[in-house]
Amino acid sequence: MSAAIDVDSVTVNYGDVPALDGATLRLNKGRICGLVGMNGSGKSTLFKAIMGLVKPDAGTVTIDGGSPAAARRSGAISYVPQSEDVDWHFPLSVHEVVMMGRYGHMGMTRRPHKKDKLAVAEALDRVELSDFAQRQIGQLSGGQRKRAFVARGIAQGATTLLLDEPFAGVDKRSEATICALLKELAADGAAILLSTHDLHALPELADEAVLIMRRVLMHGDPAVVLQPENLALAFGLDVMKRNEMAL
């Protein structure tokens, strides 16, 4: 079986800023993988490389055994952006945003048919946002906003979900709701890659964890990967001290 996501020695430079340097990562279907690393360690860049938003200077990305472009066209990939990247004042309802997940399956004018409306209603139901369908997206809480974007991926029928910091600005209860949802999706066969700074929740949520610092330092069982001496590799010691003080 080919891996859902196969990143093979990918190098990305922005001008002369190296963002990824030979990063290698394989993720199988049905698995949840947590991406952990400092600010600027290349997490978002890795997402962009998987999505084909940046062209690697070296290395290859394969999705479901094929090219990322083919995977995108078939609607297999869904991306939940970092909150800062979304215009929350945009005059769209939750329903309309989730419907955008269906556009790849629609005709030229993207007029929704019955099956599209059904898929959206089901997705909203799964993330428990049915009662909020007609709200403007900015009128949701942080956790609800994330769930709306996950619903878009569900409506799309994506089998590879990429979530950039889904727990930033989300309280513990919403985080638990999102985690439960992601686990359900993984149980249905989706491959889920997410970046997070919440190290405590990770062993409970993820099947695998990846330490990243421009390249993949370590990839394995979260309980092992998140050992303090390993984190020190990725974060540097001063950050670890700060973290301990905060605990």
């Binding site: 472009a69 066209r73 990247d85 030229m108 878009r152 700074h197 950050v239 700060r242 973290n243």
Partner: protein
């Protein structure tokens, strides 16, 4: 004078009928496009493209080809140059826009000044609503219809592009192509509108209606109806005003749009200044203590 005479008198004249048709078409097409421009943050781009089409229009006039051809070429040239200056020098985007469009606009002015029988062309700068020919009307009708039909058929894609280009990319669409398409339509729209209000004031029609509608609703679908409705109404009122006050028609139309925006800015039920101030005052009264953010155990990030 009865109200009927007041309303109907101006349109005894053919030139006034043409003026009305052209203004309303221009107002509607510009207003629909402006909904996307204000949400993407392309108002300055609208300013730039609508000015930069001038040399294209002049060259098209000299070469005897449709204005639209020259306009679209120079519209893209302007966008390309802006991108090049921004990406390959340390000059920021707003400065790049300012440099490129003023230079191209100046080129247009110079070309007009050296072109024989330039009277047709000077009209392009300030608009010449009351002197429109039959051909002008025809051109506006054709271009306006084409632009409007494309905008309506592809409106969901353009909205997706405006809201979340990354998602557009993720589902296999090409956001760069969608953006380029929108810019091409912007250039076409500029040709439509410059017949009505002139190059200098086109940008007003490309920004004000969308911004006005944005203050009135939280639904993009409603914006797409409100903006052209308001814009067309303003165009008609402006035309009457210009007729009875004997004032510049293009200027009058834009002035009325500005007035409509001001009213909405102040009195819009949800997003108007008065409403938001009142709501804020009410909240201050009701609020006891500021909410504490939930404590989370996260790495400093």
């Amino acid at each position: 004078m009865s109200i009927f005479e007041f309303l109907l008198d101006p349109f005894d004249f053919v030139f006034m009928q043409r003026a009305l048709a052209v203004t309303v078409i221009a107002a509607v097409v510009c207003a629909v496009l402006s909904c996307w421009l204000v949400l993407i943050g392309w108002s300055l781009m609208g300013d730039a493209v609508s000015h930069a089409v001038l040399p294209g229009v002049v060259l098209a006039y000299i070469a005897g080809v449709p204005f639209a051809v020259g306009a679209v070429l120079f519209g893209f040239l302007a966008v390309g140059l802006i991108g090049a200056v921004r990406d390959t020098s340390r000059v920021k985007e707003d400065a790049a826009i300012g440099i490129v469009f003023t230079t191209l606009f100046a080129l247009g002015l110079v070309l007009i000044s050296v072109t024989p029988s330039q009277s047709d062309l000077t009209h392009i700068i300030f608009g010449n609503l009351l002197g429109l020919s039959h051909e002008d009307l025809f051109q506006v009708l054709v271009l306006g219809t084409i632009t409007l039909v494309i905008l309506i058929l592809k409106h969901r894609d353009f909205t997706l592009f405006a809201f979340d280009p990354t998602h557009a990319h993720a589902i296999g669409l090409n956001p760069r192509l969608l953006g380029a398409f929108l810019l091409g339509l912007l250039a076409l729209t500029s040709v439509v509108a410059l017949q009505a209000v002139g190059v200098v004031l086109v940008v007003a029609m490309l920004i004000i209606p969308g911004a006005t509608a944005y203050l009135l609703t939280d639904r993009f679908g409603r914006m797409l109806v409100l903006a052209p409705t308001i814009s067309a109404a303003c165009a008609v009122v402006g035309l009457y005003a210009s007729y009875y006050l004997d004032a510049a028609s293009g200027g009058m139309v834009v002035l009325v749009q500005g007035a409509a925006f001001t009213l909405v800015y102040l009195f819009s039920p949800r997003h108007g200044l008065v409403a938001t101030r009142l709501a804020a005052a009410r909240r201050r009264k009701a609020a006891s203590a500021p909410e504490q953010p939930a404590r989370t155990h996260t790495l400093a990030g």
